[in-house]
Amino acid sequence: MFQVILYFSLLVLSISLVLFLIRIIKGPSTQDRILGLDCIGVTLVGFIGIIMILQETIAYSDIILVLSILAFVGTVAMSKFMERGAVFDRD
């Protein structure tokens, strides 16, 4: 029963990933696409949390930290590029 519930949550999370992907493909502005990518990064963290329980291992907690940090840094870099035209300022 527990396994069935976990697989069901994985299925629901993958449906939400597909919906984010649809928004990335057809989003009218670039900021929509950045928002969809940010949401995909955040949702993948939850995905790994469920896989950790399924495989009964604690070894993926590093991956959770690294993935959340990478998603944040990527989003900040992309939105700064969209706002000012450069990621690193020179002055």
């Binding site: 949401c39 949702t43 939850g46 949390g49 329980i53 907690s61 959770i64 944040f72």
Partner: protein, 127 residues
């Protein structure tokens, strides 16, 4: 009910709540009319979804195997702190790039404030 069943029950409830919250946020991202309302759906509820699933994993390992993982707690704290900041930055870039709002928007108060500030700057420049 022994300890194993209790931990499985808690983890299952939190995982289900988290995944349903994620799909609610995805439906909001598909259905809302412009980028500002979409970010409202995307950042808040997907942050809550991740918090629920990670809390489920943390409680499962803490109760069933008596292993308190500090790295998981750090991950929860980091997602909780950074996801709203990322949404704020995206929306700020969208407003600066003049992304259009939906037709049902009634009032844009930030536009009036920005134009007022620019007028003041021009006048002080003339003097």
């Amino acid at each position: 009910m022994n300890v194993n069943e209790i931990s499985e029950f808690i983890a299952a409830v939190l995982m289900l709540a988290g995944s349903i919250m994620a799909v609610i946020s995805a439906v909001g991202i598909i259905r809302f009319p412009d980028v500002y309302t979409r970010s409202h759906a995307g950042t808040k509820s997907s942050t809550l979804a991740v918090l629920l699933t990670l809390l489920g994993a943390f409680l499962y390992f803490a109760i069933a195997e008596a292993f308190v993982s500090v790295r998981l707690l750090l991950g929860i704290l980091f997602v909780f702190l950074t996801a709203p900041v990322a949404g704020h930055l995206i929306i700020r870039a969208a407003y600066r790039a003049h992304v259009e709002m939906a037709d049902i928007t009634i009032e844009d108060e930030l536009k009036e404030v920005i134009s007022q500030k620019e007028e003041e700057k021009d006048q002080s420049h003339l003097r």
